[in-house]
């Protein structure tokens, strides 16, 4: 498949710093995501260690603990999940799957990636400069509600956060424009929208959500910035502003954001479930339009994050009903995965294990999501560990498991090497047991009324917190095995064939060599 021109690679610095090649940029995104995940993971591990026992052990002040919690959230969302599912797998496989030689705007692609390290440096720097009255860094949570983020944090730390998030936001907006243009204009002949692989559908819907929601976040961040530095009063009641308006703006972005993280993951899981059930995906069109439906409805449910701000009962009833409706398209996806496996000849390979675990945990997170959509129940469990458990089940376990599933599925295709199955299986089992130990007990803590974001707690919450912290240690060992199997694969160099999963893996990337040639599809493939 490769030709002389196709494998002409630039020298190291030109190749990686000035990269315009979608596969190289995808690789950069994946490496960046692992780095972001390790930093974000370190922050959460320290939080879990602190919470292992009642009292304060490792943190000098509650401010520092809250700062760790805030930065953990921002890093994991903007610098781990988004770079991996959109930048990493999207860049690598959307052009390959739709039969395109590259992305529509390769230089803008480079800009999208290199804005991220700048953003990450801003966020890391914020942790070391004065923030609140009692310490360095920004401790107002990833939601950044004023007045805590305005008059509550007079130091420059939060300004660093704002600039970092604006950079990350514009990186994603450029990326979204790039993906939509690529998918609209660069599909190979015969690749109609209704034949397009589901990962491409997931990335397409996600890109629309990014395009519509991120500018609103950018606007609200700029308003926070001017409230802090230019004497405006958008969110200051003393000047006729309203802090609740910030919450509306934030969640208008924040709710679509959770689908931004999970829709590409849905696409990845669909490919893996189909490949290892040796069946085409059940209800392809239903799967594609379920994602579109989730994206559309996802824009009109935001205030379910704010049931306790003092909202009219009718408004609560609307947001509650709209939120619960999302369970319908999500249910279509879950049942279609099950129907794909039903009667299939299932092979329990490593990616399939991750995918099955994804479905299992996404259902748990989805069910607790429907609980909390109920405004009455939410009033009682709002801001407790129940919500922490819920969103970690759908994101930390859901999206992250899909990322590991995709990584183990395509690792051979991307690197050209096969990994050691035993090491990868140990990684899976430790991670699976570890994260469930962390987050399942948090349901009980939440129902018992333990509030989130606190450094300390009364002794009656001690038992389940201890279990949860032990889970964090198990997960840490799992992460070490993750790094180990990558290292081992690159050291041992077992060559991967073009299509090492067999003929059921039938999207276009499997027609190319592993790794694919530097430039592919100089003759566009024809799709029947």
């Amino acid at each position: 498949m490769s030709d002389a021109y196709g494998d002409h690679k630039p020298k190291f610095f030109t190749r990686w710093l000035f990269s315009t090649n979608h596969k190289d940029i995808g690789t950069l995104y994946l490496v960046f995501s692992i780095l972001g995940g390790l930093i974000g993971g370190y922050l959460s591990f320290m939080m879990r260690m602190e919470l292992m026992e009642p009292g304060m052990q490792y943190f000098a002040s509650p401010h520092k603990f809250s700062m760790f919690a805030s930065m953990h959230g921002l890093l994991m969302i903007f610098f781990m999940v988004m770079p991996a599912v959109i930048g990493g797998f999207g860049n690598w496989f959307v052009p390959l799957m739709i039969g395109a030689p590259d992305m529509a705007f390769p230089r803008m692609n480079n800009l999208s990636f290199w804005l991220l390290p700048v953003a990450l440096i801003c966020l890391i720097a914020s942790m070391f400069v004065p923030g609140g009255p009692s310490g360095n860094g920004f401790a107002g949570g990833w939601v950044m509600y004023p007045p805590l983020s305005t008059s509550g944090h007079p130091g420059p730390a939060f300004d660093f956060v704002i600039i970092g998030l604006l950079a990350a936001g514009f990186s994603s907006i450029f990326g979204a424009i790039n993906f939509i243009t690529t998918i609209f204009n660069m599909r190979a002949p015969g690749m109609t929208m209704h034949k397009m692989p589901l990962l491409a559908w997931g990335v397409l819907v996600t890109s629309w959500l990014l395009l519509l929601s991120l500018p609103v976040l950018a606007a609200s961040l700029i308003m926070l910035f001017t409230d802090r530095n230019a004497g405006t009063g958008f969110f200051d009641p003393a000047m006729g502003g309203d802090p609740v308006m910030f919450q509306h703006l934030f969640w208008f972005f924040g709710h679509p954001e959770v689908y931004i993280m999970v829709l590409p993951a849905f696409g990845i899981i669909s490919h893996i479930v189909s490949t290892f059930s040796r069946k085409p995906i059940f209800g392809y069109l239903g799967m594609a339009y379920a994602m579109v439906a989730i994206g559309v409805v996802g824009f009109v449910v935001w205030a379910h994050h704010m049931f306790t701000v003092g909202m009219d009962v009718d408004l609560k009833a609307y947001f509650m009903a709209a939120t619960m409706i999302i369970a319908v398209p999500t249910g279509i996806k879950i049942f279609s995965w099950l129907a794909t496996m039903w009667g299939g000849s299932i092979r329990m390979t490593i990616p399939m294990m991750w995918a099955q675990a994804f479905i299992f945990m996404f259902v748990i997170g989805g069910v607790t999501g429907v609980h909390m959509a109920s405004a009455g129940l939410d009033t009682s469990i709002h801001d407790t560990y129940y919500i922490v458990s819920h969103f970690h089940y759908v994101l930390a376990l859901g999206a992250v498991f899909a990322m590991f599933a995709g990584f183990t599925y395509w690792f051979g295709k991307m690197s050209g090497y096969l990994y050691n199955k035993w090491l990868a299986a140990v990684h899976f089992w430790l991670f699976f047991i570890g994260v469930n130990l962390i987050f399942f007990p948090q349901h009980f803590l939440g129902l018992q009324g333990m509030p989130r974001r606190y450094v300390d707690y009364p002794a009656e919450f001690a038992f389940w917190n201890k279990v949860s912290s032990i889970g964090a240690m198990v997960t840490l060992v799992g992460v070490i095995f993750f790094l180990l199997w990558i290292l081992e694969a690159f050291l041992v160099k077992r060559k991967a064939g073009d299509n090492y999963w067999g003929e059921e893996a039938n999207t276009l990337e499997w027609t190319l060599s592993s790794p694919p040639p530097f430039h592919q599809f100089s003759v566009l493939p024809k799709i029947k």
Binding site: A176, F184, N185, L211, A219, A238, H248, D312
Partner: protein, 218 residues
Amino acid sequence: MAQVRKHNANRKVVLSLSATTLVMLGLGFASKPLYDTFCRVTGYGGTTRVAEQMSEVVTEREIKVRFDANVASNLGWTFKPDEVAMTVKLGQNALAYYTATNDTKYPIVGTASYNVSPIKAAPYFSKLECFCFTEQRLEPGETVTMPVLFFVDPEMENDKRLDEIKTITLSYTFHRVENPTDGAVRAEQRQAQIDKLEAIDLDVPEKDETQINQQGRG
């Protein structure tokens, strides 16, 4: 040729996508005036109405109005309602007073934000005259009395959702004004305003004199 066509197609998509981005960015900023208008029109978030004319209809239904007062932590005022609560009939014009003292050694200009709960009652709570409409200037140690003239709209009777409402709470929070305008109300203007309000005949024609004067200040 194909190259040119692709180029144009890309340009079209990029232009419309960039326009979408800019529109959403603009909507983000426009949300401030849109949100204010929305709150005023719908009473969302407990935003009360400002009425131009006094109510002319009184119904039999009684409602308890509670008064709540708060100050921002950096203000240095004491601020309290003169009465904790009063009972009014729907449509009855009523006058309530708050008292504020400047506990510091320098003059301070403050402004009050306000809302009503339960929130769904806000569209029916109409203020004719209120100290919260203007900035208030208090000299060091000065104590002042500030009036609110309001009525609960009799239209509330027709709203089934409000049938169970027996109490409405009117809440104020005084904030410091960092850059006061010249228009801040001072002692002499305030007294003139109170005199004017007390001269108004709160009595609504016909029925029920017993209710009308009991909530008057003095």
